[in-house]
């Protein structure tokens, strides 16, 4: 294998506040190959969102090394990152297609090509026919699909997702997990996926990074050797159970 797409070595972040310093992230070391889907799993306060923001270039870090891309394929944070949050954060006054186009507008990409691409992406995320609707006309799950399409519009190489399905009901969440796997396979992107759902982390991830809280540090990072493409059957397999139990143990829940 060549150089990894993302390389993190002993990354550490401290928030300095009036009440003293607070260690938000520490001892984070892992590599991600291009095209992987990495799950960051851990309890609240383990620094997973902070880590995501460091990757997005929104936060600085105190120690260690963060490198994305390589000399031959340099990474431009402005146009190579797509973000999805727990809330869809669609602009209420824009139609779905215009919401999807927001990053393209900001980056000044050619309008006509972007429109065509937005239509294709809405098809990809299963929102055909919703282009001219307003966000309030869509369910929470549908809005999140639109948010995923928005994250893909400028064809970024890295998608950062912060508990994207955390606000959805359990059934919709299951469905969106399968949808995400399908979209990931078709779009061929590297995805970093933050969750506190252990089964979700194992089911989606080609790699799982386990973070613990108090103090915030990385407990482990391992590849998930489960067959691709993943189907619901995977969840009942013995290996799936082993991976899940391993994470429970790392989080001190066993």
């Amino acid at each position: 294998m060549g150089e990894p797409f993302i390389h993190l070595a002993d990354v550490r972040k401290i928030y300095r506040g009036r009440g003293g310093d607070f260690l938000a992230v520490s001892e984070v070391t892992f590599d991600v190959d291009a095209g992987e889907l990495v799950s960051l799993v851990g309890p609240s306060g383990c620094g997973k969102t902070t880590l995501l923001k460091i990757l997005a270039g929104l936060h600085s870090h105190e120690g260690g090394e963060v490198r994305i891309g390589s000399a031959t394929q340099p990474f431009d944070p402005a146009c190579d990152i797509g973000m999805v949050f727990q809330q869809p954060l669609l602009l209420k006054w824009r139609r779905i297609i215009d919401n999807v186009l927001l990053p393209a507008e900001i980056l000044g990409l050619p309008t006509r090509a972007s429109r065509a691409r937005a239509r294709d992406l809405l098809q990809l995320v299963g929102l055909n026919g919703a282009e001219d609707k307003f966000p309030y006309e869509l369910s929470g799950g549908m809005q999140q699909r639109a948010a995923i399409a928005r994250a893909l519009i400028h064809d970024p190489r890295l998608i950062l997702m912060d508990e994207p399905f955390g606000a959805l009901d359990a059934l919709t969440r299951e469905k969106m997990n399968l949808e995400l796997l399908r979209i990931w396979q078709e779009a061929r992107k590297t995805i970093v996926f933050v969750t506190h759902g252990i089964t979700e982390a194992v089911f989606l991830g080609t790699r799982v990074v386990v973070l613990t809280a108090g103090p915030a540090r990385m407990a482990d990072n391992f590849r998930v050797e489960l067959p691709q493409p993943r189907t619901l059957d995977v969840r009942t397999s013995e290996k799936f159970g082993e991976y899940s139990r391993c994470i429970y143990r790392l989080l001190g829940m066993e």
Binding site: P77, I81, F85, E105, I106
Partner: protein
């Protein structure tokens, strides 16, 4: 079904208004109420026939005060709020001052305004302006602040300019708030203009009311109140129509 519903609602609204007029009529007729205490609906309408009262001229005078003061307040109020959002230091410096100044009962300034500016349409416009300026500033400032921080993260990863954030996210997001302030101010503007006329003026519906008070022409006073109310309703209707046009249904603040 939906169309019928709105039709029914409108007809019910018309019926309730007609019933009020009927009750007014019956009360005056059956109760033998003296005309100078409460004129009948017919007597009120007949007051319009008195040429001395110069209804049209007075309507235009009051209308100019209300609309002029109001438009001034919207333009200056929104403008100042925008400056506040661009220059935090200006807000921190000026906002507390505005809050203190807002505690002055604007009506109490009336006699001073007359000393400074004499009386007339201009000073009364100023009164309408003074009374509806603050709610507009306040709601606009609040609306511009209301942007979700994660949405800002999203556009910051795209290295969007401040101007892009403002035009694409902040300003359209603040519109519903601006309109909620404009609706409150629309009602206040009418009160401001009329109080101004009471304190000192040579024309306008409020001025007319003071003139006919001497002769106990209650019917004309009633007519003046109705016309003032209609002017207020017209202004409110225009604002409501603009809101319908500019703000997507779901985003409106009721």
């Amino acid at each position: 079904m939906g169309g019928n519903d709105t039709l029914n609602r409108y007809s019910l609204a018309v019926i309730s208004h007609l019933l009020l007029v009927l009750a007014w009529y019956l009360f005056v007729e059956l109760g033998h109420v003296p005309k100078f205490v409460l004129p009948s609906p017919m007597a009120t309408v007949q007051a319009l026939a008195v040429p001395n009262y110069r209804w049209v001229e007075n309507i235009f005078a009051t209308g100019a005060e209300i609309f002029g003061g109001y438009i001034l307040a919207v333009v200056i109020g929104v403008g100042i709020a925008l400056l506040f959002s661009w220059f935090r230091i200006l807000e921190m410096l000026t906002m507390p001052l505005l809050v203190s100044l807002n505690m002055i009962p604007k009506v109490a300034l009336g006699p001073l305004i007359i000393v400074w500016f004499r009386y007339g349409i201009g000073p009364n416009m100023g009164m309408a302006f003074a009374i509806c300026f603050f709610p507009i500033v306040l709601t606009t400032v609040r609306g511009l602040r209301e942007t979700e921080p994660e949405l800002l993260d999203l556009v910051r990863t795209l290295k969007s300019s401040r101007w892009q954030i403002f035009t694409k996210i902040q300003l359209p997001g603040a519109l519903p708030y601006i309109f909620s302030g404009m609706k409150v101010a629309a009602i206040l503007a009418v009160a401001g203009a009329i109080v101004g006329e009471f304190l000192g003026s040579d024309r306008g519906l409020g001025y007319l009311m003071l003139q006919v008070q001497v002769t106990l022409d209650t019917a004309a006073m009633f007519m003046a109140v109705i016309l003032i109310t209609l002017l207020g309703t017209l202004l409110y209707g225009v604002v409501l129509g603009l809101e319908r046009l500019l703000v997507v249904r779901d985003a409106r603040i009721r």
